[in-house]
Amino acid sequence: MADSDGRQVDSINHSTEEDVKLQEVVQAKCEGKELTKEEKQRLRKEKKQHKKNKKDDRGPPEKEKEKEKASVLAPSKPATQSPAHKAPVPVNASASESPVAAEKPAKSKAEQRAERRARQDTERASKQGKKEGGQQSASSKPKATPNELQPVVKRLPEHIQVDDPAALKKLAKKLERQQVPLRSDYGYKVSLFSHLHQYSRKNPPTQQISIPATVIHPSIVRLGLQYSQGIIAGSNARSVALLHAFKQVIQDYSTPPNEELSRDLVNKLSPYISFLSQCRPLSASMGNAIKHIKKEISNIPSQCKEEEAKRRLQECIDSYINEKIILASEAISKYAIEKISDGDVILVYGCSSLVNHILCEAFEKQRKFRVIVVDSRPRLEGREALRRLVKKGIRCTYVLISALSYILPEVSKVFLGAHALLANGYVMSRVGTSQIALVAKAYNVPVLVCCETYKFCERVQTDSFVSNELDDPDDLIVTRNGKTHLENWQTVKSLGLLNLVYDVTPPDFVDLVITDLGMIPCTSVPVVLRVKNVDQ
């Protein structure tokens, strides 16, 4: 990076005056002011000039390096701007400039692309000249050097801004542009949670799509439906399904003429991601997987042939699944089995694929233990875990979460799965996990959380209200002895049903976190994140 910067400085010294004007104009654009027609023409001319100068300075190979750099810088923005959430695509510099470009139908696509690249170069140079402050413009690109503490430019994720009408309008416009159906909320929402969406399972968003869907790939439509109906549940399962669907999408993708695969494919993925998040809000693991894929796509060199590029992407997805999920669970099992001794009584909650895997492995390695499965309404996921464990031959007991105080004196260890690990050490997991950790602490039973590192996310959260997911409230209705008390809850004005999906467990309730990097305390999560960011 250093040499090219030096060369850039040289090229800039060649045309400082133009650059000054260019910088001004670029700055004006950054601040969102309207450019007059003369200014735009001037800009065009200067860019062409600038490009010619640069061409004189360097040969063709450097031009490619520029292109690569430009494409690398673009995805570094999502890395710093909105971690862990669905990355709405207009983070690329190209997207922010496309409204401007759209006003000039006279320009050809190649010229626009060249302009964009040149602008990116000059912006980068100008930014390096000045001190990097907390510039809030959409096209700011703070470099992720590990020694500096980055001012994080964050946009609030949409799914926790439901009570803000401006945000809702913005979302509606974006979805319209992407031709993704907007899902409407259902039922009376408890006032504490008016900032979250609440959907009904009976109205999936696929009802509003025409068949065959023009914009959204059919495997994505199927995936969205499976998410919204709860057919695929559990963060590992959702991520793996997502990656397989993306593999299919890449397989069927063909680059349109005059477009580059590395840019166009990323743009194609954004309506799919919007659609999926309408079906069900993305999980932290899915967000990390999407970020990884986008980075890989943008890293494809432009001279790579399409077939070659597709093959490379498929391999990359396969290796992600293999490394982060499958091998990680093997590593975690290895560590966790050391913690299981003969005669143990282990308590698990709900259905975590990782914890089930650990227990099955331990049973195969001839450890003698028995398992207590705790379950809760309305999801009753523990029954699935019970089936899997009983099939293996493990001795199991089954209780509901209200019987926890009764059963806990028998328990020697508690194993919990996690949906995500937040940067302040809190564990985000299925609702009820924090309760189990609380009561276990009161009875002095050790609590071990098992979580792969790809689920670590940079968000912080201290309670279960600010960011959560509300499931279909009708799930709470139950018929007992022929009577359904809550049947007409919609008609009663002051009655609300609350069906939370996640809750956060404070780190003082958790004794140990077992990850594929080893066994760490809860508070070491930001350390792991930092190390991972440096590596990547």
């Binding site: 408890v190 504490l192 809760s376 309404r377 309305p378 029954r383 019970l386 089936r387 009983v390 199991c396 007991t397 089954y398 209780v399 509901l400 979460i401 209200s402 019987a403 926890l404 105080s405 009764y406 059963i407 299925r430 609702v431 009820g432 924090s434 309760q435 609380l438 009561v439 009161a442 309670d463 279960s464 209200f465 709470l476 139950v478 007992r480 002895n481 008390h485 809550l486 809850w489 009663v492 004005k493 002051s494 009655l495 609300g496 049903l497 609350l498 069906n499 939370l500 809750d503 956060v504």
Partner: protein, 355 residues
């Protein structure tokens, strides 16, 4: 003969009461509230006093003790029955002492001197015959019945002292006392109630619909979300099945978790319990007071093959230690858990603790 008819009639009534007790304990919580059980028990004891054959207080106490033992054996978890029996026994002792002319205070004081010198004589004390003893005892039992009728109202009257406006109150399951308490407060104040549904019987649903009919903002939450929402709750108000002698509770399952969550967030835990729920039992280390329902409620038969390989437990009650409780609200006012043992000595005689 009219005497024999009365006797058979009496024993019939006792038998039917016993069979009802046995039946109502099987699942679905209590079909009748504890207040009703207490009233019926007291009415039955009054009838026994009126119709059974007895000559002196000692005989009456023997009869009542015998019937009381049968009743508690029919449904051990329904402690109000035993409590009422002990109350009546205490009434008999008091009336006897009054008839004899000695003051209550002198009798109650158990000085060391008295214990050593008058050990055996207390038995004979109840053998004297008094003509008006029957009438006095029945009158006293009537007073007890009126007291029982007014307990719920007495407790609800204190509601406004404890609930201010814009509060978020959490409760669990269904307690008629708490229902009346909250409805009374809702007449004057606006607040929000969160009801934990308390699986597997989900009695919280009934509670929520009944509260929302009175225009109280109610939310039903599953048991798993208790800790998640506890940080926004201002008070936890619960009912209970029994108040134990150390100030602890035997309440519906899930209450211990609720109490721990409230303690963690320093939220006050208020128990609305009328005095007839106070029982002289102490909690044991072993689970001897646990009661279970059919595992079918927990893991239904539709689950098929795994049923035979799995143990499923469905406990009905939880023990809540007194350190987690902030306040008891009963028909005689508010008390701290540390005062419960004193109240107990006013209600029951120590010799009646074991029936």
């Amino acid at each position: 003969m009219p005497g024999a008819d009365k006797e058979t009639d009496l024993s019939e009534r006792i038998e039917s009461f016993l069979s009802e007790l046995k039946r109502c304990g099987s699942g679905a919580g209590s079909l009748r509230g504890s207040a009703e059980t207490a009233r019926e028990t007291t009415a039955l004891l009054r009838r026994i006093t009126a119709q059974a054959r007895w000559g002196n207080a000692g005989d009456l106490m023997e009869i009542i003790r015998k019937e009381g033992r049968r009743m508690t054996a029919a449904q051990p978890s329904e402690t109000t029955v035993g409590n009422m029996v002990r109350r009546v026994l205490k009434i008999i002792r008091e009336e006897y002492a009054r008839s004899r002319g000695s003051t209550e205070e002198a009798d109650q004081q158990e000085s060391l001197h008295k214990l050593l010198t008058s050990g055996g004589s207390s038995e004979d004390n109840f053998r004297q015959h008094f003509a008006h003893l029957k009438a006095n005892v029945i009158e006293a039992i009537n007073e007890l019945l009126t007291e029982l009728e007014g307990t719920t109202d007495n407790i609800s009257m204190q509601a406004l002292e404890h609930i201010h406006s814009n509060e978020v109150i959490m409760t669990i399951g269904r307690s008629r006392t708490v229902e009346a308490f909250l409805k009374d407060a809702a007449r004057k104040r606006k607040f929000h109630v969160m009801v934990a549904e308390c699986a597997p019987f989900c009695q919280g649903h009934e509670m929520a619909t009944s509260l929302s009919k009175e225009d109280i903002e109610t939310t039903v939450i599953p048991d798993a979300a208790i800790f998640a929402v506890m940080s926004r709750v201002n008070k936890v108000i619960i009912g209970t099945q029994t108040v134990l002698a150390n100030g602890g509770l035997r309440a519906v399952n899930g209450t211990h978790t609720l109490a721990l969550a409230a303690k963690h967030h320093s939220t006050p835990l208020i128990v609305c319990a009328p005095m007839f729920k106070l029982s002289p039992q102490f909690p044991n280390e072993e689970d001897t007071f646990h009661k279970f329902v059919s595992p079918h409620e927990v893991l239904p038969f539709t689950e098929g093959e795994i049923l035979s390989k799995v143990n499923a437990h469905g406990p009905v009650f939880d023990y809540v230690p007194p350190e987690l409780i902030t306040l008891f609200i009963s028909n005689i006012g508010g008390n701290a858990p540390s005062y419960i043992y004193r109240l107990m000595s006013e209600l029951y005689h120590p010799e009646d603790h074991e029936l």
